[in-house]
């Protein structure tokens, strides 16, 4: 069975105008993507559209509810103080965790781009934490952050710092979770490493010839050449971090004093504990619009600082 490897033309050919071989190729193509496509339709696009519809109703999972138009949206924005609180908590977490993970990921990638012995081992070690199961990691961190016998307070005590109440204090609970988010820096690091490999060596050589030291090379070559990767990581991290849920759900259930009641946890409560799935669907769409707006903002301002070197 041979395939006709036709170079792809810009013009789309109608089905009936295709040759038999081309048609067979097309069918095979669709067959290959059909498992993913079915999954996408059933579990992503379908619920996506359904939730849009349901956000205009008082659907409660067990009852279809009735149409209420924009009421769920206006209620979220004007009559529910916990909406703003949860959004604020989430924004705090994003502002803390995203720069931290990006900067740390970048530094780690720089360090792990140097030819040392056991480089692969080091890279693996730093990456492995980010692929451990989320729930198991969260339970582990519950112990690490325990105010009385956790390892973190123990380490602080060795530096003569008095124990921090971490998750039992409304002031420290979000910083504790931001600290914890560093666990997942491996993902960013790996992408930065790939970006670093793509910087042409001759730029460094030219700079050295001109007498640039390591710091200047970093500032004038590495960072500018890495801006596309930084940009990518920034967008991806923001999208993901806005949806933080598991840590708050397992470790604190929003407490103490709603200090870790993140947006997704608030949504979850409404969807599954208060029988207000219609309202929760509206909340999901509001979050989508917020993240979309931020992403568009990043895209529009990207040409000011992202440099796509030739």
């Amino acid at each position: 069975m041979t395939f006709i490897a036709t170079p792809q033309t810009k013009d789309h050919v109608r089905w009936r105008d295709m040759s038999a071989a081309r048609r067979k190729e097309a069918i095979l193509g669709y067959l290959f993507i059909s498992p993913w496509l079915l999954g996408f339709l059933m579990f992503v696009l379908g619920p996506f559209i359904a939730s849009f519809y349901l956000s205009f109703t008082t659907y409660s999972i067990l009852q279809p509810g009735k149409w209420v138009g924009l009421q769920n949206y206006t209620r979220a924005l004007s009559r529910e103080p916990l909406f703003w609180k949860s959004l604020g908590n989430t924004a705090y977490y994003v502002i803390g965790a995203v720069p931290l993970r990006i900067i740390l990921g970048f530094i780690l990638a720089l360090l792990l781009n140097v030819q040392v012995r056991g480089l692969t081992l080091w890279r693996t070690l730093f990456y492995v934490p980010s692929i451990t199961p989320l729930v198991a990691t969260t339970v582990l961190w519950l112990y690490l952050l325990n105010p009385k016998f956790g390892l973190i307070n123990y380490a602080l005590s060795l530096l003569h710092i008095s124990p921090v109440p971490w998750l039992t204090s409304p002031k420290w609970s979000k910083p504790a979770l931001i600290l914890m988010s560093v666990w997942w820096v491996g993902g960013n690091m790996v992408i930065f490493l790939a970006g670093l490999q793509g910087i042409p060596q001759h730029l460094y050589e030219a700079a050295e010839l001109d007498g640039a030291n390591a710091l200047r090379r970093l500032w004038h070559i590495t960072i500018p050449m890495m801006t596309p990767t930084i940009y990518f990581n920034l967008v991806i991290n923001i999208i993901n971090t806005f949806q933080v849920f598991v840590q708050a759900f397992i470790m604190t259930d929003g407490g103490p004093l709603n200090s870790t009641r993140f947006y997704m946890l608030y949504l979850y409560d409404n969807a599954f504990r208060f029988f207000k799935m219609g309202y929760a669907s509206a909340l999901a769409w509001i979050l989508f619009l917020i993240i979309l707006a931020l992403t568009i903002l990043l895209v529009k301002t990207s040409n000011r600082w992202v440099f796509y070197g030739g």
């Binding site: 789309h12 050919v13 999972i61 067990l62 016998f149 039992t168 103490p256 504990r273 029988f275």
Partner: protein, 464 residues
């Protein structure tokens, strides 16, 4: 423009429409068959169902009896299967945390377990969602009447005139005050004289609470940690207050009794226990089972339910001779009583296939001697069934039996609304804000009552 053919755009549009229509087709009508207008004739019990031919049937049963109760549940189910040999029961221990969500999604997917354990605080909301089957017809057929149970227990099983759940274990006996007599003696207090008023409790707690280097080493009593999980309600009712009107429409806890209770909770936590944050950090060392705080000497007294006896027997049996149980102390405006707030029971979700067998299991788990009574007897806990508590075998082995029954006899039933999960979150938030000092007790109470009333008003407006 040239011939487009099946372009990407068209393909995407087609896919989107297929996906959306498939989903909407799946979602909307699935809810319709659960509309209340359906006649219940397929759910009505057949007269004399037992003589009918018995094809083997498998039913699913979900429960939350974890820890050292797992073997007891297994035995109870084995006995059931021995009595009804054509029924096979698949038992699943559901974790505490997502119990509601699991039942909800199972019912929505039209694939619920035949029998499941459910909190009585969740029962009204489930009934409003049309998720449960009423049990009255079955009870009438098999001679199960309300007077088998204590009044406060059975009241919590009814909603809108029907019975939706049968109780097990008790909704009462949640707020017993346990004391460790050894610490009483060590502090120079009379171990046979438990405190009866809030003022007395403060004196006793001051003597029993130990600090070391400015942090807590042992707590006298943590009044924010109570058997039913809602300390504000307990102390409100012990100060002569009530939380809601009988018709479930008007919030009543924004009263002088409520304010005094909240203030007392804040002052006690700050002045005697070192503050809310200190206490929370202290309790982070403890757990639910092997490292329970009371029987590991983290606290000298606790307010907890009758289930504690079985745990102590399992994890710290040497403590038993040193135990004392009494009713919680009352405030200046009230009398002492525990609360029968919620509690558990077993329900049959709507949409199960084997309703007769599910009913037989519910009956076994809640009324029968070898099932319901035996299960609690093994744990030396009181039962919601009168005959069971009166059976001498029940109290045997538990030196505190009479005291526990005595306390349970004073329990007061607390009404539950269909929006209880949301209101409970409000009450918890209000309590936290006051005890952490974020708001003054007046402000917190004002906010809490206002918010709870708003939730109620919205609910009743939609379901008038």
């Amino acid at each position: 423009m040239e011939n487009k053919g099946l372009t990407r755009r068209e393909f995407m549009r087609l896919a989107a429409m297929t996906g959306a229509s498939a989903w909407l087709a799946a979602c909307a009508p699935a809810a319709a068959p659960q509309a209340p207008a359906q006649p219940t004739k397929e759910e009505a019990p057949a007269a004399g169902g037992k003589e009918a031919k018995h094809e083997p049937v498998t039913i699913r049963f979900w429960h939350h009896w974890g820890g050292n109760r797992v073997p007891l549940m297994e035995e109870q189910i084995n006995r059931f299967m021995a009595k009804y040999p054509w029924i096979k029961v698949e038992v699943t221990l559901q974790p505490w945390d997502q119990r509601l969500e699991k039942i909800l999604t199972a019912v929505a997917a039209n694939d619920p377990p035949d029998v499941t354990m459910l909190g009585r605080h969740d029962m009204p909301s489930f009934v409003e969602q049309n998720a449960l089957l009423p049990l009255d017809e079955w009870m009438k057929r098999d001679g199960i009447t309300a007077d088998l149970f204590y009044v406060a227990e059975f009241k919590g099983c009814q909603y809108k005139g029907k019975t939706w759940i049968l109780p097990l274990p008790t909704g009462g006996a949640l707020d017993l005050m346990w004391r460790n007599k050894r610490w009483f003696r060590q502090a120079g207090l009379d171990p046979e004289k438990p405190p009866e008023t809030w003022a007395e409790l403060e004196e006793v707690a001051k003597a029993l609470t130990v600090f070391e280097n400015g942090t807590l080493k042992r707590v006298g009593i943590h009044i924010l940690r109570v058997g039913d999980g809602y300390p504000f309600l307990l102390w409100l009712y012990n100060n002569g207050g009530t939380w809601i009107s009988e018709d479930l429409k008007t919030i009543q806890f924004n009263s002088p009794a409520g304010l005094a209770a909240l203030k007392w909770m804040v002052d006690f936590t700050n002045n005697i226990n070192g503050g809310a944050e200190e206490v929370a950090a202290f309790y982070s060392q403890t757990g639910e089972w092997e490292n329970g705080p009371f029987y590991n000497d983290y606290e000298a007294m606790q307010i907890n339910g009758s289930w504690e006896f079985f745990k102590i027997k399992g994890y710290a049996p040497d403590l038993i001779p040193e135990l004392g149980v009494s009713v919680v102390p009352h405030g200046p405006n009230g009398e002492s009583h525990g609360l029968a707030y919620g509690g558990w029971g077993y329900v049959i979700p709507r949409g199960v296939k084997h309703v007769e067998e599910a009913w037989l299991l519910v009956k076994w788990l809640t009324t029968e001697k070898d099932g319901a009574c035996w299960f609690l007897q093994q744990q030396k806990r009181p039962s919601p069934l009168k005959y069971c508590n009166e059976d001498p075998a029940s109290g045997e082995g538990n030196p505190l039996w009479k005291d526990i029954l005595g306390v349970m006899g004073q329990d007061v039933w607390v009404p539950i609304t269909p929006v209880q999960p949301q209101i409970q979150q409000v009450i918890s938030q209000m309590t936290e804000e006051a005890t952490y000092g974020q708001k003054s007790p007046e402000e917190a109470l004002q906010w809490g009552a206002g918010e709870a009333q708003r939730i109620l008003d919205e609910y009743w407006a939609e379901h008038a």
